[in-house]
Symmetry: C2
């Protein structure tokens, strides 16, 4: 019988924010899958998992080459290959725990492998984790939401960040690392930068909390999350 | 020395989706605080916590009267009293674990007590948990997001649900129980009901998954979450 692929959200950084289910499935799986990449996010997920589930370090690791690239062909090919490598393990009856930061349903790279494995007729399941923005709210010690207002989660790659600032309710800007300058300029332009907070590397070594965007240096980690209050409150 | 109030997200329903930190802090706290209410959400959080942290059941429980009411004065008074009861325990040097479903930063009732306790100069901390919509995505076995698109979390009490359907990206409608009929009518009106999925009581006894809103019966639990795909995909 074929094994199962588990896309496991290891949470935002603090190993204690891993769920009991994540720990159990990592301990029970025969193979740990981690994307091989220079990207900080990848090795971080492995470190978090090993800290909470010590058995993790003793298991064979399947390193998957999944470069973040704009070359669509290369991107497709590398994800197809990653799925094929995982399927090889599943065919041997092994369960594979693919480690992904935060939660697998929210801007994870896991999902592309998940979809490919499902399409090829194998079992793949997602294990929910604590998303980074929840940990950021806890770090800031405040709610992300207001009773009857929406909450918007916006990746920095979204082309409509400017219009999004008009939406009612709180905006969370994710993965702002490289595009921080553009976003900062936009928020300053709108005169709201002082009321925007930022947490960098929440729950990880090197964590920094900024109570105002004006205090943030020129460069920031990929793991930087901005919380933009509703427009009415920034005036 | 005064104790600390912990607002602990116990996750969406499955006790295994509690974090290691939530379990530890529940075990370490001297008092468990739960709102007393006819509301399903309240006792559910206690059941989840007891299933994952068996010590929970042996600890004294502080029942807090926090009715969901539109009477603003009654609402303020009950939350002030809840905060005062908690502060009594903190003054005795006891740590209090306030249990809240999902994550405390996302539409939780905990936050109103948190703010009052902080304002009165006592220590209150939030412990992030897995939000219900992440568990719903895992149950549906699909991503909530698309690479460069935003994600919107919308409480059913939001007055602008109709306009929100125009926003780009996926929309998650939360706590749709009582307003399900209104929302369903709106989605049918827009001709998108067939592509909307719903999960009721995700990870709890009585869980139901609907692959299309058209299959959903007239009444639904308070714990019903709708996932509305981007408009381009519903045509």
């Amino acid at each position: 019988m074929s094994g199962t692929l588990y896309g496991i959200g290891v949470g935002p950084g603090d190993p204690e924010l891993m769920t009991l289910k994540a720990v159990r499935l990592i301990e029970e799986s025969q193979i740990i899958a981690v994307p091989k990449s220079s990207d900080e996010a990848q090795s971080t997920a492995y470190q978090i998992a090993c800290a909470a589930a010590p058995q993790c370090r003793k298991k064979p690791v399947l390193m998957l080459d999944m470069p973040m690239t704009r070359d669509r062909q290369l991107w497709e090919r590398s994800h197809d290959q990653a799925a094929a490598s995982i399927i090889n393990c599943l065919q041997e009856g092994k369960d594979v725990a693919f480690l992904t930061l935060g939660d697998p349903s929210i801007y994870s790279t896991y999902i592309y492998v998940h979809e490919r494995v499902l399409r090829r007729g194998y079992a793949a399941k997602m294990v929910a984790g604590v998303p980074s923005f929840c940990a950021v709210a806890a770090r800031l010690n405040e709610s992300l939401t207001q009773a009857a207002s929406p909450l918007h989660i916006i990746p920095a790659s979204y082309q409509g960040v400017e219009e999004s600032l008009e939406w009612p309710g709180v905006k969370v800007l994710m993965k702002t690392g490289r595009s921080l300058q553009k976003v900062r300029w936009l928020l300053q332009e709108q005169g709201v930068a002082d009321s925007v907070k930022m947490v960098q590397k929440c729950g990880m070594p090197g964590e920094r909390v900024y109570e105002s965007l004006s205090q943030v240096p020129q460069t920031a980690s990929y793991f930087s999350i901005l919380v933009v209050p509703p427009k009415e409150e920034t005036k």
